[in-house]
C-alpha cells in the first residue's frame, strides 16, 4: 500500500463526513433542531395533507403580497386632480 492510497482514503472519507457535518450545521442554523419532540412526535402525522397545507400557506402569502403590490400600484398611479 502506497502513501497516496492512504492519503486518498483518509481525504475522501473525511471530506464526505465533513459534507454531512456541514448539512447538520446548516440545519441547526436554520432552526430545524429547535424542537426536540417534533422529531419523534410529528412524524406520526406526516402525510401529503401537510404538504398541501404548506402549499396553501405559501399561496396565502403570495396572494397577500400581490394584493399589496396592487394597492401600491394604485397609489402610485393616483393623481390628485388639481
Amino acid at each position: 500500500m502506497s502513501e497516496s492510497v492512504v492519503m486518498l482514503m483518509i481525504g475522501v472519507s473525511t471530506f464526505l463526513g465533513a459534507l454531512g457535518l456541514i448539512a447538520l450545521l446548516w440545519g441547526v442554523k436554520t432552526g430545524q433542531f429547535d424542537d426536540q419532540s417534533k422529531f419523534i412526535d410529528a412524524t406520526h402525522f406526516d402525510n401529503e395533507e401537510d404538504l398541501r397545507d404548506a402549499v396553501m400557506m405559501e399561496e396565502k402569502r403570495k396572494a397577500r403580497l400581490k394584493k399589496r403590490e396592487e394597492e401600491k400600484e394604485k397609489k402610485k398611479n393616483y393623481m390628485p386632480a388639481d
Binding site: E3, V6, M7, I10, T14, G17, A18, L21, L24, L25, V28, K29, G31, F33, D34, D35, Q36, S37, K38, D41, A42, H44, F45, D53, M56, M57, K60, R61, R64, L65, R68
Partner: protein, 822 residues
Amino acid sequence: MMAVLKHWFHKLNKEFPLANIACTHCNLEFDESVMIIEDEGDKKLFFCCKGCQGVYHLLSSEGLDTFYDKLGDTKLQPASQKSDDLEKFDLEGFKNKYITTHEDGLYEINLIIEGIHCSACVWLNEKVLHKTEGVLEATINYTNNKAKIVWDPDEIQLSKIIETIRSIGYNAYPYDPKLQEERAVKTRKDYYSRILVAVFGSMNIMWIAIAHYAGYFSGMKQEFKDILNVAEFILATPVLFYSGWVFFRGAYYGYKNNIVNMDTLVASGALSAYIYSIYAMVTQRGEVYFDSVAMIITFVLVGKYLEVLSKKHAVDTLDSIMGSTPTEVTVITNKEKSLISIENITLGDTIELKPGEKVVIDGIVTSGQGSFDESSLTGESEPVYKQEGDNILSGSLCLDSVLRYEATKDASSSLLHSIVSLLEESITKKPRIEQLADAVSGYFSSIILAIALVAFTGWWFIGGDFEHALIIGISVIVIACPCALGLATPMATLVGISIAAKRGILFKEATFLETMAKSDLLALDKTGTITEGKPSVVHTQTLQKYDHNLLYSLVSTSNHPISKGIAAYLKQNNELLQELPLEDIKTIQAKGIQSSYQEKKLIGGNASYMQTFGLSVEEQTENTLFYFAIEDQLVARFELSDTLREGAAEAIKEIQAMGTRVVMLTGDHEQSAQKVAQEVGITEIYAKLLPQEKATMIDKFHEEGHIVVMAGDGINDTIALAKSDIAIAMGNGADVAISVSDVVLMDEKPGSIYEAYRLSKRTFRAVKENLGFSLLYNVIAVPLAVMGFVNPLVAALSMSLSSLMVVGNSIRIKTLKFKDRS
C-alpha cells in the same frame, strides 16, 4: 413536565375511577348519568360537558375528526367555554407590549398554548390556525407549547385568533420572548453547533489514532505516520479553536478577574498539547496528542451544554407565569370605569376586581368583600376572606365577588413583579455553586502551570537546550492535565447521580452532589414537603344516622381540599357510593356548600357557615372542622388535619443525627406550624413568612456562613429555592419550583432527602479519594516528567492506568446500602 403529567394522571385516576364511560372528546371518564348522550347514526356519543360537545361537532364539521385517531387514549382537559376578556387582546397597551410589526405590515406574536397534552393537540392547533383566514404563519413548538403566529392585521384581529384557539378547547396567552428566550435559544444553538464539530472531529481522530497506536506497537514507516499526523492535525484544529472557543473565552475572563478556573486548565492543557503535537509532527520526533486535545474539549463541552439546557427549561416556565398576568386593570375615576395599562397605575387609584381575576397590583380593599386564593404566595390551599381595610397582594386570585381596592404600590414594586424579577435574576446567575466547584481545580491548575514553567526555565538555563526544555515543560502539562483532575470528579459524581436517579432522586447537575455534601443547614417548607398538603379526616362523630351518599354527592360538587378530603374518607369507608342528582348547588367560598335533594336542604361547611343557618356550634381545636346538616339538623362532624408524609419524623431525626441543623420555614400560622414541628422533632420554626421573607431567611443563613439546602414545593418557595445553594423540589410541586430547583424528588418522600444527603456525602468522599489518588499520581509522574524521564509509552500507560483506578474507585459508591423501602 413529566412530573406534572404524572401528577395529573394520578389525580385523574383518583377522581374518576375506571369502569365509567369516557367522554368522546376529552377521554375523561364519568358516570353515565351525568353525561350528555347523543345518537349519531348507529353510534352513541358521550360528552362530559357542553364544551366538549361543541368542540367535537366543530371538528367533525371542519373535517378534522382524524384528530381523534391521532389522539388515541390520551386524556384532555374538558373544553371550558370562556370568552369574557377577548377585547383586551386588541387594546393598544397589549399591542405595544407583545406584538411586533414586520416591515411589510404583518403582525407577529408569541403565545403559550395551554391545554396541550400530546402531539395530536399540536397538530390540531396548527391545522385550525392554518385554515383561519389572514393567518400567514403558525408554528407550535412540540416541547414547550410555545407558538409563533404571523397574521395580516387588515384581515383578522388577534382577538379573533385567540377565540379560534379557545373554540377548540385550548387557551392561549402571550409572552415576551425578548426577556429571556431569545438569548437562551441562541446560546443553545451556538453550543449545539460547537458540539457537532467537536464530536465529528474527535470521532474521526479516534479511528486515525487507532491506526496510529497499532503502528506504534507493530512498527510503521515515518511517511505513513506523517500522513496520519497531518490528518489528525487538520481535524483537531477546528475542534480546538471553534468548539473550544468557550474555554478560551472563559480563561480570558478568568485572567481579567485574576481567577484561575477550570476553563484555564482546559484551555491551557489543550492548547499546550496542541502546540507540542505540532512540534512533534513537524520535527518528526515523539508522539502527537491531537486525540487527547479533541477528547478533552468534547467531553467538557458536552457537560457545559447540559447546564445551558436546564436554564432554557427554567425560562419556559417563567414565561408562563408572566404571560398569565393581565396587562390592564379596570380603574374607577369619577365613577367611570376605564381599562388602564398596569404601568400607568399610580398610588391611590381605585381598581375594580371581578371574580376570577388575578391581582397584579398590591392594595387595600375600600369596598366590598370576597375570598382570595393566595395559594401561589403562601402555599396554603384554603381561600382567605378579605373585607374593607384588608391588604390584598398581587399574585392572588379573586374568587367569588366584585370588589374595589386602592393601589398602595405601582406595578413594578408590587409583589408579583418583584417575585418574577428575582427569579429572572436567579436563573441567569448562580454564583455560589460555581465558585465552590472551581475552587479545587483552580489551585491545581495554577500549581501545574507553575511547575511546568519552572521545569522549562530550569532545563533551559541548565541544559541550554531550548527545544528539549520546551518538550519537558509541555509534557508536564500534558501528563498532569487530562486524566488526573479531569476524571476524578465527574466519574464519581456520574456514578452518584445514576444511583440517585434509580432511587427517584434527580440531581440536575453533577456539582450539586458536592455542594450538598458540604451543606450544614436544611430548611424545610411545611405544607407539601413535611406534610401531604391534603387534609384528611382524623376524627368523625355521627350525631344522627344519615345517608352517606348525600354527603358524598354534596362534597363531590366542590374542588376545595377539605371537600376532597371528606370525599376520599367516605370512599375509603363505604363500598358503594352513588352520586345523587342534587339541585340548587351553591358554593360559598371559604365557608361551605349548600344544595337540596328531593326537597331536603343539605348544608356542609365550617362553624361560621353553620351559624348563619342558626346552628350553634362553637369549639376550639387545632384541626379544621367540617359539619354536615340535613334540614337544619346537625348530623355529622368531621375533624380534618394535614397528615405528615410517611417517614418524615425518622428522616428528619437521621438528618439531624448527621449534624445538620434543620429549620422549618412556612407561610402558615404559628399554631399549626408548632404542631407539625413537634411531631417531626424540629425545634427551630419560622412561621407566617411571605415568599420574600423566606428568601431573606436563606440570605441570613448564608451570612452566618451556612451552606443551605432548601426543600419546598410551591410557587411561594421558589425565590427561597433559587437563593439556596441546593434546592430540592417535590416531584408534584409547582412547575416553577421544579425548574429553579437542583434536585427533584420523584417519590416525594422526606426519606429521600436523607438518602440524597447520604449519597452525596458518599460521593464526595469518593471524589476526595479520587483527587487524592490523582494527586499522588501527579506527585510521582510530574517530577519524572520534570526530570525528563517520560517517554510517550510510559505517559500513555500511566495515563490509562490512572483513569482505570479513578473509574474503579468511583464504582465502589454502588456498594452504599440503603434501607429498602419497597
